[in-house]
């Protein structure tokens, strides 16, 4: 039994008057992959974005309940969002490399944090790109624009960019939904590589993907967490009728 790195208790989130999360209780052990699945609009992205406070950017959002990262309340008045996001990185649906070179993309976080040692930066670039399983494809054009890469390569560079700031948790919101099947399976392989060293939480619409890569799966519906369990239990033997209906494609 490993320790819980991230805990959510009775989490409610309102967009204005509209309640998008209705009391979520969900905890994550350190390391491993958890998949969040559920019909469109059920609040998966909303939930994921509360975990590194990305919802702060949206006006009129009210959040109640507690989220703790290693026992520290993420929403405490003195919590530092910048520090939080260094520990809890995020990869988005649409690959969003900065319009700079591949090299600069990967070290951007570190460079801004003040790291100047060229050797160290070089090492981080190589290590991160290797971890993201894209090193062999880009090693000869590190100083060319990241925008010139394919969507799948861009997405893996974005993963490398997050790895370079060495977070503990990586959040991914449908990272493969804008990619072709080959790129998608490369990303899956990348994540499987990372699962021993990072706590990974991934939103996906692709149930096969969840069953292939996730250790644990959480099923959301209408702003509520219906159930969470080992992935094989969710898929083979769900406890709730709604889960079974969703898994068997009866709605959603």
């Amino acid at each position: 039994m490993s320790e819980e790195i991230l805990t959510t208790q009775d989490l409610h989130l309102y967009y204005g008057e509209k309640e998008a999360l209705k009391g979520i209780n969900l905890n994550f052990d350190a390391k491993g992959i958890t998949a969040l699945i559920g019909p469109s609009g059920c609040g998966k992205s909303t939930y994921l974005r509360t975990l590194n406070r990305m919802n702060d950017l949206i006006p009129n959002v009210t959040i109640t309940g507690t989220i703790k990262f290693k026992g520290e309340n993420l929403y405490a008045p003195n919590a530092d969002t910048v520090e939080i996001r260094k520990e809890i990185g995020m990869v988005f649906q649409q690959p969003n490399p900065f319009p700079f070179s591949i090299y600069d993309n990967v070290i951007y976080g570190l460079r801004i944090a003040g790291e100047k040692d060229k050797e160290k930066l070089d090492a981080v670039v190589e290590k991160s790109l290797r971890q993201a399983a894209v090193w062999d494809e880009v090693k000869d054009h590190l100083h060319e624009s990241a925008l010139a890469l394919s969507g799948g390569q861009q997405q893996r560079v974005c993963i490398a960019r997050v790895l370079a700031v060495s977070p503990e948790i990586i959040l991914l919101d449908e990272p493969t939904s804008a990619l072709d099947p080959v790129s998608s399976s490369q990303i899956e392989a990348t994540l499987l590589n990372l699962r021993h060293d990072y706590t990974i939480i991934i939103v996906t619409h692709n149930l096969q993907q969840a069953s292939r890569i996730a250790d644990r799966t959480a099923f959301f519906m209408n702003g509520e967490l219906v159930e969470v369990d080992q992935t094989k239990n969710i898929f083979m033997n769900p406890a709730k009728k709604q889960t079974e209906d969703y898994i068997s494609g009866r709605f959603g």
């Binding site: 590194n52 900065f98 976080g109």
Partner: protein, 294 residues
């Protein structure tokens, strides 16, 4: 008539209108260049103007135009940049920002002669700056600020929200995201906006007639101490610009070759503005390439 014919007719009409516009512009440009280019010479571009005699040049006016432009840009660019960043990156939509935006809208549609008269009353008279480069630069700032702010805001708008989220999700602060991710990505487009607005400022006359004044005292180009009255850098001296010079010659010029000087000045002005425009495109493209493929 069937739709195919209608379509053809409509396209034909549109081509016709577009062609007409281009033709008018080319004719104007051609006329100005044809009558102006023969007047141009090194002497014309560098010599001081003469009030009563023939053979004057526009050297001082040309210098004044550039000096005023640089000063006005140096004042208005940082303000516009700050305002645009605040409005687009930080401010949330509320009555304060709505008011600021409305004010910018109104200011940007203010006729420049009104800006000029305001500048005259406020800077020249009230603040006792007199007819001076400084008064002119402030008036130009008022003229330029709203347009520049809007153009920088538009440049920021072209950068996807995903870029901001990407920056923040890496643990950059808001400020770092703006200055290290958004601004570099927006530089080419911001620069294009700046150069285009420089063209507008360069050709502006009405805002300057009553602020920078209509006289161009001879300058001593060997004296770069800004505190000396004949130094080109002195910001307190009156400074007629090229655009004002054209206006003045045509309304009250009494030198025998007024027509020729006016034509020559117009050609210089047009060429300068054309160069600004080409430079804007070229520099914008080059910078974007450099920034995106380091």
């Amino acid at each position: 008539m069937d739709t195919k014919k209608q379509n053809k007719l409509a396209i034909g009409a549109l081509y016709g209108i577009a062609g007409l516009v281009v033709l008018i512009l080319l004719a104007l440009l051609g006329y100005i260049l044809a009558s102006g280019l023969p007047q141009l010479s090194w002497h014309f571009l560098t010599a001081p103007a003469k009030a009563f005699l023939k053979g004057g040049g526009v050297g001082v006016q040309l210098f004044n135009s550039f000096y005023l432009l640089i000063l006005a840009m140096a004042i208005s660019f940082p303000i516009a940049l700050g305002a645009a960043i605040y409005l687009y990156e930080y401010a949330r939509d509320n009555w304060v920002t709505t008011t600021i935006r409305t004010a910018i809208e109104i200011l940007s549609s203010l006729p420049s002669v009104v800006v000029g008269l305001f500048g005259f009353l406020f800077f020249v008279v009230k603040l006792r700056l007199g007819f001076s480069i400084l008064s002119g630069a402030f008036a130009l700032t008022f003229f330029n600020l709203p347009l520049l702010t809007r153009s920088i805001e538009d440049s920021l708008r072209t950068i996807d929200l995903e870029q901001r989220e990407g920056g923040l999700a890496l643990g950059l602060s808001r400020w770092e995201t703006v200055t290290r991710v958004i601004l570099p990505a927006a530089v080419p487009s911001i620069l294009t906006g700046v150069i285009l607005s420089a063209g507008r400022v360069f050709g502006e006359a009405a805002a300057l007639i009553y602020t920078a004044g209509q006289s161009a005292p001879a300058l001593n180009f060997a004296d770069w101490n800004p505190f000396n009255i004949s130094s080109p850098l002195n910001p307190m001296r009156p400074a007629e610009t090229l655009a004002v010079h054209i206006w003045k010659i045509n309304s009250e010029g009494i030198m025998p070759d007024a027509k020729a000087i006016s034509s020559g000045s117009s050609a210089v002005l047009i060429i300068a503005i054309l160069l600004f425009n080409f430079a804007a495109r070229y520099v914008g493209k080059r910078l974007y390439k450099r920034l995106t493929s380091a």
